[in-house]
């Protein structure tokens, strides 16, 4: 896949073709609950990438003999829309799609508490609506959020991003052109709270120094993505909490909603301010988030119980 390095991807001032610096992520936005039928879902827009992930389960597995006696099976299905790329993709599943599906399933299996749901399957369907490089990473990022939205218990949330070489310079979050014309590509899936790498691939030619730099840069990028993931989830829980505050009258409910929204917004704004700076400052708030994690799960469980879960039928 790696190009020959003849295309100029980064200028003398360190600006990339799309105007980013070498350690800059593309603008990333995550929306939760985009597929109403699903138990959990998320849409990620990362640069021009548009990807939807929907979670169904835990539910019964067919054929039954594939069921695991001691844990749930995690099945990821990564599919690209025919119109998501410049030249129409054949609608039949490609070998690439199958490999990515497997890698994503394996990565997610490492964080989901699968032993809580023996003999079931948790299916994660991923549809790439528009591809702009780094789709497997964006898919993993979205899938993690969708699983959290579904209330699936997890040890942590995976954020994923690819770094690589543009004219032999290590850059974060490759987009389409850099992916094709750059000389190296290293997708990485990482959970900051667990310090675990769950997806790792590489193609191209790296020196040992470039390899180290690339790995470090990706981990920094993943941490920033993780903040976007958790903030989006917090916002979602805040909305749900306000919605299910049935005992309160409408006025109190509105107040609560606004208050919660403000809290999350403030945090988000602060984080955005911090982003261009170096990361040392950010270590502290992160530890707090880790503690909050189990709490979030609880909040999520409540509204789910209110309505009959589709997966239960």
């Amino acid at each position: 896949m790696a190009g020959d390095g003849t295309v100029q991807l980064i200028d003398e001032k360190g600006k990339r073709v799309d105007g980013r610096l070498k350690d800059e992520l593309r603008p990333t936005e995550i929306k939760i609950g985009v597929v109403k039928n699903a138990d959990g879902s998320a849409e990620i827009r990362m640069g021009k990438n548009i990807i939807i992930a929907a979670v169904y389960g835990p539910r019964e597995l067919h054929p039954k003999h594939r069921a695991l006696p001691d844990r749930a099976l995690i099945q990821c299905f990564y599919r690209m829309s025919t119109f998501s790329v410049n030249d129409r993709k054949s609608p039949a599943p490609s070998r690439r799609e199958k490999e990515i599906s497997m890698l994503l399933s394996d990565a997610l299996t490492s964080v989901v508490l699968t032993d809580k749901y023996p003999r079931t399957t948790i299916d994660i369907y991923i549809q790439v609506i528009q591809a702009d490089g780094g789709t497997r990473c964006a898919s993993l990022t979205a899938a993690s959020v969708a699983l959290a939205d579904a209330g699936v218990p997890m040890r942590g949330i995976i954020a994923a991003v690819a770094s690589g070489l543009a004219n032999d310079i290590v850059v974060l979050d490759l987009f389409d052109l850099e992916d094709q014309k750059g000389s190296g590509d290293m997708p990485l899936g990482y959970c900051p709270t667990l310090n675990e790498i769950s997806l790792l691939q590489l193609d191209g030619v790296f020196t040992l120094e470039q390899f180290d730099e690339c790995l470090d840069l990706s981990i920094e990028g993943a941490k920033r993505l993780y903040d976007i993931q958790t903030n989006t989830l917090k916002q979602r829980y805040a909305d749900i909490r306000a919605e299910v505050a049935v005992d309160e009258d409408d006025e109190v409910k509105e107040e609560l909603k606004e208050q919660l929204n403000d809290e999350v917004k403030e945090e988000l704004i602060e984080q955005l301010k911090e982003e261009p700076k170096k990361e040392e400052v950010k270590e502290e708030p992160k530890k707090e988030e880790v503690k909050e994690e189990p709490k979030k799960e609880e909040v999520k469980e409540e509204p789910k119980k209110e309505e009959p879960k589709k997966g239960d039928e």
Binding site: V35, S81, T82, F83, V85, P91
Partner: protein, 273 residues
């Protein structure tokens, strides 16, 4: 993977009981549509695209154009091919794998309405007769199934086509054939007819429009009509096991025609943006 859709008898009876009183479970009257939203130019990498929501039903359609050879029996016509995928992403009742009967029917009914209304002049897609024509792929993905996929699919396809832009092709030499695609010089695809499909669903003795998933599932029969903007009928498909009397069909085609006008308004509004 997907489970069969099971709807309880009591729920079935409840829906029928409400219909007797000209009511529906979500508060609509029998002929009422849910809220329609159309967003065009959703996918920049496609030549044209649109996401259509009717209530919680959501479909995305994308158009891709590639150069290819025409069919031997129509050497001076371009080609359109339509496909639909009922991805398991969209519903716990859809299964992975090659398109099943219902996905094929959805694509073919949509294709028929567009093709038979001559919505697109295929001869304009011809570049070198007998040798080189544009092939337009209309590909649809259901993103969430809450009933009435047929109307949404045609709406999405038409909105995507109407916002499609195709590059000009320069012929460098005829023999041997050599051409160049001028990626920068895009021309909007000309739409000759603004086709809309409307489906009437029959539950017991009642006919309704725009069913949600439950109403869709318990319906006995449906007819999808395609109409052009001159109110001509351009396509029709009866589906499911139930039957219609000739009188019913005559009434339904008129009611559907009426509804088609408001759907077309939504279409025109979205594509003129």
């Amino acid at each position: 993977m997907g489970d069969d859709y099971v709807i309880s008898e009591i729920e079935k009876h409840h829906i029928q009981f409400l219909l007797e009183q000209n009511k529906r479970a979500d508060g609509r009257i029998l002929s009422e549509f849910r809220k329609i939203a159309i967003e065009t130019n959703y996918v920049q990498k496609a030549e044209g695209s649109a996401v259509v929501s009717i209530g919680d039903t959501q479909i995305i359609a994308g158009i891709k154009a590639t150069l290819g050879s025409p069919f031997p029996d129509t050497p001076d016509s371009g080609v359109i091919t339509t496909s639909a995928e009922l991805s398991p992403l969209a519903s716990p009742y859809f299964e992975s794998g090659p398109p099943a009967e219902d996905a094929i029917e959805l694509a073919r009914v949509t294709d028929r309405a567009i093709r038979e209304s001559h919505a697109i002049d295929l001869s304009k897609l011809c570049i070198v007769p007998g040798k080189l024509v544009w092939i337009l792929f209309i590909d649809m993905y259901v993103l969430n199934d809450d009933g009435n996929l047929f109307d949404a699919a045609t709406l999405a396809s038409m909105a995507a086509l109407a916002t499609t832009k195709i590059p000009k092709v320069k012929i460098i030499s005829e023999e041997p054939l050599e051409t160049e695609i001028l990626e920068e010089e895009l021309e909007p695809l000309k739409i000759d007819h603004y086709t809309v499909a409307v489906t009437t669903y029959k539950i017991g003795e009642y006919n309704i429009f725009d069913p949600n998933l439950k109403e869709d599932q318990i319906s006995d029969a449906r007819i999808t009509f395609g109409f052009d903007e001159q109110d001509r009928i351009v396509s029709m498909q009866k589906g499911k096991l139930g039957i219609y009397t000739p009188e019913e069909v005559k009434t339904q085609v008129r009611e559907c025609l009426n509804v088609s006008k408001s759907l077309r308004k939504e279409l025109m509004k979205a594509i003129s943006k």
